[in-house]
Every structure is written in C-alpha cells, then in structure tokens.
Symmetry: C2
C-alpha cells in the first residue's frame, strides 16, 4: 500500500471520515458572545451544581459527549474509541468523563491544540480500518484554568491587555467511516516551535510561530494556496497572535488577509465583553468548530475549511524554572465533498 | 475494507509494524536492580547535570529518543511522528524533548499506561498507511513524580508498605512498516475502571481492576488463552496489584500463575532495595519492555509476549476533592512472527 503521506507532515485520507454529529456546551459569557446562536446549550451557571471548578468542567465535557452520541442516534456501545484531553493537570476532565462512559479511551495532551490532535488521530484510526465510530472531544473552564496556570481568582489580579479569556465549555465530534460529510480530507501534524516567549499572559505570541510553521508546511505539502479555502481559522491565537500570523505569512509570500481568522477573535466581542486579546482554551476551537463551522458547512455556506487548533505546551513549574513556552499547531482540512 | 477489529476492544494488525530499534536509560537505583544488564545506559547521578528534577527527566527522555533513532541507523528526518507522554503536569518532559527534535508530535497522557498507549496508536498509524517510522516513548523520574503526586522529598516522609518506587528512566521504541520483528500483532485498548480506591500510596490496588478487565477482554476478543503467551507482563502493579490480578483472574477461570508477572515486581530487588511494593512510573514498563523483553525476544528466548502497561489517572487536586483513582490498562501482543 502506498503511504498516505504528502510532503513532510501531511497525510491524505483515502476514505475520508465523515463528521456525523457534534455538540457544544458553553458558559454564560460565551453564550452572550457573537456566536451564541450556534451553541447547542448555554449554561446559566458555570458551576452547574458542582462543588469545584474541575468537577464542573468534567460535567460539561461528559454531558457534551453524551449529547453528541445521542444526537448521532448512537449509544456508547457504538463508539469504538474516545480520544480526548484538556488543560488540567493529568487531564482529569477527560479521564473522569471517560470513566462514566465505559468506552475504550486514549488520553491526549495537546493543550489548546487538542481538538485537531484528536480529530487527526481519530481520522487516521477510522481511515486505517480500526474503528467505525470515534468520539473526539475537549473542554476548558475559565476558572479551573486561571487558578492552575496563573493566579487564584480570589486575588482579583488585573489582567494584561495581551491576556486571553479561557473559554468555558466543551465540544465533541463524532467521526464515522460512513456518512454524508463534511469530511476530514487532510491532516498536517505540527512540530513544536519555540521562539523564546516566557510570558504566560501572552499566549498568542507564544503560539503564532508554530501556527505559521504549520500553515506554510500545509500549503507546501498539499500544493494548496490560501484561496483554495473558504475559511482558514486558527484555534486561540487571539488578536495579537492573529496579527503576527498575518504579518509573518505575508513576508513568506502568503496573503491570508481575506479568509483567515481565529476562533479566539470570533467567540467574544472584545469591546463589550472585556476579554482583552480574545478567547483561548481547548474549548475555544472546539465550540467554534463544532458549533459555528460545522453548522455553516452543513448549510453549505462554507464548503472547505482549514481548522488549525494551536497549543501552548508549558507548565507553571517549568516556566518558573526559566523555560520558554513551546507552541504547536495541528491543521485539518474539512470539506463538504470527499475529493 | 473489513474492519481490523476483533470483539469489542481489540484490533488486529494486517501488516504488523516491526520494532526496529529501542533504547533505555535508567537511574543509579534501577542500575543496581536485577535487570541492570538489560539497560543501555545507567546514570551515575539522576540529576545528570541539570538544575531541576523536571529538566533532568526531560534530558533523560531526549537522550533516550536520540539514541533509539541513532541505534536504528536513522536520522530525525526519517521519523514521521513522535508519540510520547509522561506523568508531569502538561507532560513537559515529552514536550521539551519533542521541542529539541523537530519531528511532528502528538502528546499523550495515559500516566503509567503511556508506553502501550503510544505503541498501540503508533502501530495503528503505521498499519493504517500514514507513516513508515514512528517513535513511541515515555519517561518518569522518582524525584519529579514524588514531589508532584505525594510529598516534597525534603519532608523525609515515611513510605507506606503499599507504596511503590517511581522508576527514574526512559524507554523509546522505533516502529517501522518494514523490519525483521518482533512485531506488534494485536492491541487491546482499555476502558477506565474505578473501584473506589482513594489512597495515592496504593496504586497497585487502584490499577488492578483495570488490568483484570483488559486481560479478560483480550482473551475473549482474540480467543487466546493465557498459555498462548510465553510471558504476560503488566506495567507497574507491584506486588499488591499483581496478587490482586492473579486472585481476580482465578475467580474468572483464568490461571496465570505460570507466566504472569509485573515490570514493577521485576525491576527492583524489594528486599535489598527497600522499594516496598515495587517499581512504578511510566518508565517502569518502558525500560523493562525496551530493555529486558525486547532483548530476550531478539535472542529468541521469548517468542510471544502480552505487554500491558497500567495507569492511575488521577491528579492531586481531584483526589483532594474526594475523588477516587481511575485505572486503565492497554495491552499489546508482541510476536517474533508476523502471524
């Protein structure tokens, strides 16, 4: 069998897996943003009756996956694998969710790149013939992330203008070996790129070089140009990261000014919602993709999209030891047609 | 194409990936244990000139992967993907290693099940036609794990008799679409099993029920009996977990008394080395597999092995919130023959 590989980092699916169901749950703040009509369920209280931020996040992810399975007219027994991860230490939101579902489970850690990490691996598992149905999912929660990566909320710390607002929510995608699309047709797996940014309140700048690396690699590997896509969208670079990407790509000869944006730029109204550089967190790309992009593709308004979730792969302890923040970005092509 | 699946949780590889190179590095204590002659490099100082435990662990993983690539007469450019993970928050040993290598990277979190999580996914990626060569790797370090999961070493806390000793070291496997074996022929992916154990000093008991679940599922899915294997070996159940597994399997009608052991039982001399219930950590299964098992298979002394790394998927924060410890176990069949 010929290798399903193009260039150095891209694979092309021979039997592109179909997205047959998605679901999104978001917190109240996300439910007041510009994309509110695309989310399936908006929480009134981001604690959702739980005793801790972490348990609230796990409940959000669990209910999201259950609803995605239900939306696809499936049961847990129909699902071959769950591929999921999140930001919390030891990805406990994903683990405690998978514990409730009794489905074979692979835990992933890609920070905010998790949505496309899980979709890339899920698509390979299905196209490789190892599964009929795979759940790909991730979650984040403003309060669990803030206290883990930055300051306890009780400090009431002032937020930098370069800081981003972690999205509270979860998104789940069900991939299937059969279905009417949209389909995952290509996946470009990122390498780690680290340009020395050490400021955990400037994630956009830390992740942008990885995003640029993956985008250029994707275009070179596939032969596509930016205009081959209706939309090219990164995960959570925010305003600062987005402008860095546009600048760096222009220098390399790629003009993305007409069809590139970032999930973190779109999910909040920065002026009204006081979210500074924009949204972030694993759920940022997850809810924008499984809500807005998926639904617009089903309507035919978007035909071909490049989704590239972006991750900052540091920990507080290694950051405090003087290390910089490594970035990564994984891109997938989603197409309403198979070829 | 027919689904490469047997029963509920097992996949059978049609073109079983070959292991073409391995490498192991261990700390001084592991280098004094019963398996010392099987490890490729034994550190004199487990800090290895680094300023922190975490940076020492990352250096161990990085040098292990570089040596495995070199041992296979390969360069980084020959490797399609790295699949790796570790115990540290945000798996920073793996991330900071991958940063140095410039190879497309998928981060995994399976706690001490990481070695077989990475080998299972790596084998699917190769058999699915998406890669020629994949590096599967993991690491752990006694001192980075102890201070993260239990107590600062400076406390000098007394260790429970049920506690295990986290292995300092790393193991890496290079899988290839071609080669002379041994081959990965089957993979049984675990579900999470949680029987309510909350004691982070009794990981063997927390993980044993997941190990039992995966073993029984493997036998049912494949039709194999325990005697079809020369060796069935779990990752880091230790003495307590091992005896629970033997008891529970006996009740279910499976007699493993002749050919079952645990990497955590084998790696230390519990009497002389004061390691209580045995070894643990991601590196426990990784160095025993990539050292002892691989080398004995190359010599022909072991022909067919079931390796089942086992993971405890809690975090300190969720444990302190009253949650119990979920366990998982992923099993792979390694065979010197393809069929």
């Amino acid at each position: 069998m010929a290798l399903k590989k193009l260039g150095s980092q891209t694979v092309k699916f021979h039997n592109p897996p179909s997205i047959i169901s998605t679901y999104t749950i978001v917190g109240p703040k996300e439910g007041e943003g510009p994309l509110k009509d695309y989310f399936d369920f908006i929480l009134e209280d981001d604690m959702w009756g739980q005793a801790s931020f972490e348990k609230a996040e796990a409940k959000i992810q669990e209910e999201t996956i259950k609803a995605a399975i239900n939306n696809g007219n499936l049961t847990n027994q129909d699902i071959d694998f769950i591929l999921s991860g999140d930001l919390l230490n030891q990805i406990v939101s994903s683990t405690y969710t998978a514990r409730q579902l009794s489905i074979p489970y692979y835990g992933l850690y890609g920070a905010c790149s998790t949505m496309t990490e899980s979709l890339s691996l899920g698509a390979m598992i299905i196209d490789g013939g190892f599964a009929d149905k795979v759940v790909c999912a991730t979650s984040s929660h403003f309060s669990s992330a803030e206290r883990q990566f930055r300051f306890p909320l009780e400090y009431g710390s002032q937020r930098n203008f370069s800081s981003q607002w972690t999205v509270t929510g979860a998104g789940a995608t069900i991939l299937s070996s059969t279905g009417d699309g949209p389909y995952i047709t290509y996946a470009t797996t990122g390498k780690i790129v680290d340009k020395g940014i050490k400021d955990a309140s400037n994630m956009g700048a830390a992740m942008a070089p990885a995003a640029v690396d993956t985008l250029i690699t994707h275009f070179k590997d596939t032969g596509f140009s930016p205009s081959d896509y209706d939309l090219i969208i990164s995960g959570d670079l925010g305003k600062i990261g987005k402008s860095i990407v546009l600048d760096l790509l222009k220098k390399e000869g790629y003009d993305l000014s007409n069809n590139f944006t970032d999930c973190g730029v779109e999910i909040f109204d920065g002026e009204k919602q006081d979210t500074h550089a924009g949204g972030s967190g694993c759920a940022c790309a997850a809810v924008v993709f499984n809500g807005y992009i998926y639904k617009e593709m089903k309507k035919g308004n978007l035909k071909r999209v490049l989704l590239m979730a972006t991750g900052a792969l540091h920990s507080t302890i290694i950051n405090q030891q003087g290390e910089s923040i490594p970035g990564i970005a994984h891109a997938i092509t989603i197409d309403i047609n198979k070829d």
